[in-house]
């Protein structure tokens, strides 16, 4: 696995050599995509990743960005690892790509993924999202301070719902636990939709999620937004304080991007990067990000690879500090 970049270079050179000697064969090889591109969403339908996928699909369809359609396959399970591990097995198959969230990096750092970052080709970072904590009406919590006090008085009494057992929500809960020195009772659910059902029914006291998953209920008064975990306040949730303002330096950023399996031909990778660049520049994309309180941020290919590597390094540090590694 370690020498796969060298191998890729070698293959590219070989392909280049072939293109001189046998132009027709190379031209045939360069035809991409030759069939629909399958976008794997490693989470249940209806959650943040699923909707991201559907918007990408819509942008590609509406603005005719690709000669072949994009199809979406949902492969949820184990905080996304089921889907990503599956993707890694499709080595060299550029017709299969997947959405990636922060959980992608968590999987590697916590060594829960059976595969390595080298088994993937980073395609593009598309969006940066933040996280929000909201309380149910039944819980009676109105501010972050009240949650902290309740947990101090009775450790583990506050039930926190989030998506996945090792993704960004679980780790945010752990980060809060260690920064504020309280014990939270984190309960993982399979999808954002299930977290919503649990908090609306009052089965958990607070929920963690991306702003777009929870803000609708905050707006209709069913939930109370307690804090966001970004550097500054989130557009669309101007009244909600950041955790820094509450007095604790807990910041989580989660990028949403696209990854492909390792072993792609150069022209295939380029096609996908350019396709995603066009999606990120589309009007539908800007509209989607604005509506869902996210920021459009595009990084293509190697730049996204560097972003992911930085994210892993940062996560390793955070988790080591918390004693979770």
């Amino acid at each position: 696995m370690k020498n796969s970049p060298a191998l890729a270079v070698g293959l590219t050179l070989a392909a280049a050599a072939m293109s001189i000697t046998a132009p027709t064969a190379a031209a045939q090889e360069r035809r991409f995509p030759t069939r629909p591109i399958e976008l794997i969403v490693p989470f249940a339908p209806g959650g943040g990743s699923g909707i991201t996928g559907e918007v990408i699909k819509k942008a590609i369809t509406d603005e005719k960005l690709s000669p072949q359609p994009l199809t979406i396959t949902y492969k949820p399970g184990a905080s996304g690892q089921v889907g990503w591990t599956y993707l890694a097995t499709r080595k060299g198959n550029a017709h299969t790509i997947a959405t990636a969230t922060a959980s992608f990096s968590y999987g590697f750092v916590q060594k829960k993924m059976q595969v390595t970052p080298d088994d993937f080709t980073p395609i593009a970072l598309m969006l940066v999202d933040s996280q929000l904590m909201a309380a149910s009406a039944q819980s009676g919590f109105k501010t972050m301070k009240e949650v902290i006090e309740a947990s101090k008085k009775n450790p583990g009494s506050v039930k926190v719902g989030g998506t996945g057992s090792s993704g960004s929500d679980a780790n945010l809960a752990a980060m809060i636990t260690s920064a504020v020195k309280i014990k939270l009772n984190y309960i993982p659910f399979k999808s954002g939709g299930e977290v919503n059902a649990a908090i609306l029914g009052g089965h958990v006291d607070v929920a963690l999620g991306n702003p777009n998953e929870l803000a609708g209920y905050v707006e209709s008064g069913k939930l109370v937004a307690l804090a966001v975990f970004s550097d500054g306040r989130v557009p669309g949730l101007k009244d909600v304080p950041t955790m820094k303002e509450v007095g604790y330096n807990v910041v989580s950023r989660s990028g949403r991007g696209i990854v492909a399996p390792a072993g792609l031909a150069k022209h295939e990778e380029q096609f996908l990067v350019e396709l995603m660049r066009k999606v990120a520049q589309s009007k539908a994309w800007a509209e989607y990000a604005g509506k869902n309180m996210m920021t459009v941020k595009f990084l293509g290919g190697a730049d996204y690879g560097k972003y992911l590597a930085d994210e892993r390094a940062q996560l390793t540090e955070v988790l080591k500090a918390m004693g979770k590694l």
Partner: protein, 500 residues
């Protein structure tokens, strides 16, 4: 009451030519997708989504929900004719539906399924029309402990009540649960029983096993008989439903509608579990429970009513709370969001034309499905006139393609063939198949809700007995499990109590 005016506005929207075309396309596609094993409603919808985006949101939603409830009708067809359950919600229809077909009564089975589906589907839309918001609030009362209790109820009802021997039923149920633990642990991602195999990390799907045991098992059962199967030839008279059939099915349809609607409202549990509960209820209430599995029309009518009633129920949390209860409604939610419609309590006041147009279209769609399904009964039944020498391999290949279309996995096909043998032998030895498949379908959900509950209570088991809804369901579960023991020791009926 302004819902009359709302509904009439809804009908004025649903009756526009474009929406009539759309609902027709939706229910026809849904019926086809439901009938094909493998291609489920989610896959079917994702094929139609590009088409939906070209429409206005109301038409798009009419199309998608047409596919959704059309699927429930379609699932019946292959279950009755070939013993191949297209979706997990049609497993119970296989038991008596296919037995009826083997008795030459495929016509009445399909007809009663269509009638029951129509009544139940319409009932659930009426309830959706009248009671959506309060029912949504009730659904939210179900948290992890209630779900766990409900899954346990479904599993113990089907294991303990439907087979010839309780012990055999429980054994199959436990084996199903065991198969469900293969793959990544749903709570913390530990690999269990995967032996490093990547394909197993995904877990073992329900379809290869259900199609293998039911479909392929039935094929093997069909070809072992040395004579041409004559009974499959159905005369016109046998095809038509009798007055007695209708009378026998009336109450099962009513009960199935209620069970289906009530469980359909609950996110997650939905259609499948309602069919199991409906079947178990019919068998319990029947004067001749020992005849279930040999072609009782009640065993078709109840579950078929239940799975259709669940579709209207499932629309309630989706529309009023924005919570999808199944993969299918989750896709609909994603599409709604793309159309800038925010499901929730405000949807009814902000976008009444959308909501009421959709609801009205569901009335129309159900009528169309009734007409369509009854009209095509003779054509469907004609399939059974194909001689078994051709029909058997044809069904086998049909199972194979259906299973392949889920994951494009050859491993799944081997599993299907392997479980075909298991199913064939199990039927011979009167080990019931349904508990194994139910254990497999519910196992993952059951484990998640069990462990979530115990996290909520910090490992205190009393959480299942102190919350009123959970406690009530658990009481029924305990009654079902302990009944034979009580029967034996308290009523001193001797050894017979252990068996049926």
């Amino acid at each position: 009451m302004d819902f009359v005016s709302n509904l009439s506005m809804g009908f004025s929207i649903a009756f526009t030519p474009i929406n009539l075309v759309v609902v027709t396309v939706g229910v026809v596609v849904g019926t086809l997708i439901g009938a094909l094993p493998g291609i489920g409603p989610v896959a079917g919808l994702s094929i139609l989504i590009p088409l939906a985006f070209g429409m206005d949101p109301t038409s798009a939603m009419i199309l998608m929900s047409g596919v959704y409830y059309g699927c429930m009708y379609g699932g019946t067809i292959t279950s009755v004719l070939m013993n191949v359950p297209g979706e997990s919600s049609s497993i119970m229809t296989c038991l008596d539906g296919n037995a009826m077909a083997r008795n030459g009564r495929a016509g009445p089975a399909l007809t009663i399924a269509a009638v029951g589906s129509f009544i139940a589907g319409t009932f659930s839309v009426v309830m959706l029309t009248l009671l959506a918001p309060p029912i949504a609030e009730y659904a939210l009362k179900f948290g992890p402990p209630e779900y766990f209790a409900l899954m346990l109820l479904g599993l113990s009802a089907i294991s303990g009540l439907t087979g010839e021997s309780r012990a055999k039923g429980y054994a199959m149920g436990f084996i199903g649960l065991a198969i469900a633990t293969i793959g990544l642990d749903p709570i913390d991602g530990t690999q269990r029983f995967t032996y490093g195999n990547l394909e197993l990390m995904d877990g073992i799907g329900f379809l290869p096993i259900a199609v293998g045991m039911f479909g392929l098992g039935a094929v093997l059962g069909m070809i072992e008989a040395p004579v041409e199967i004559q009974i499959m030839k159905t005369t016109l008279r046998e095809m038509i439903i009798t007055k007695k059939d209708l009378k026998d099915s009336a109450m099962p349809i009513v009960r199935g509608s209620l069970i289906g609607f009530v469980t359909g409202v609950l996110p997650g549990a939905g259609a499948t579990i309602s069919t199991f509960l409906a079947y178990a209820a019919e068998k319990q209430l029947s004067k001749t429970p020992e005849l279930f599995g040999t072609g009782m029309i009640e065993g078709v009518a109840g579950p078929e009513a239940a799975n259709n009633a669940s579709t209207g129920g499932a629309m309630i949390p989706l529309l009023t709370l924005g919570i999808p209860g199944s993969g299918t409604t989750a896709v609909m939610l994603g599409v709604l969001t793309l159309f800038n419609l925010q499901p929730g309590p405000l949807l009814f006041s902000k976008n009444p034309d959308f909501v009421w147009g959709l609801i009205a279209s569901m009335y129309i769609g159900n009528v169309m499905l009734l007409v369509l399904n009854i009209a095509f009964v003779p054509a469907f039944v004609a399939v059974l006139r194909v001689p078994y020498r051709v029909l058997a391999p044809l069904i086998a290949i049909f199972c194979l393609v259906g299973v392949y279309s889920v994951n494009y996995s050859v491993l799944d096909l081997w599993l299907m063939v392997g479980f075909g043998v298991v199913g064939y032998v199990a039927v011979k030895m009167s080990y019931p198949l349904a508990p194994l498949v139910l254990g497999l379908v519910l196992g993952g959900y059951m484990e998640v809700s069990l462990r979530q509950s115990l996290k909520m209570s910090q490992a205190d088991l009393s959480i299942f007995f102190t919350r009123p809804i959970a406690a009530a369901i658990m009481a029924v579960v305990i009654a079902i499990v302990l009944w034979p023991v009580l029967n034996r020791f308290v009523f001193k009926r001797g050894m017979k109590g252990l068996q049926t």
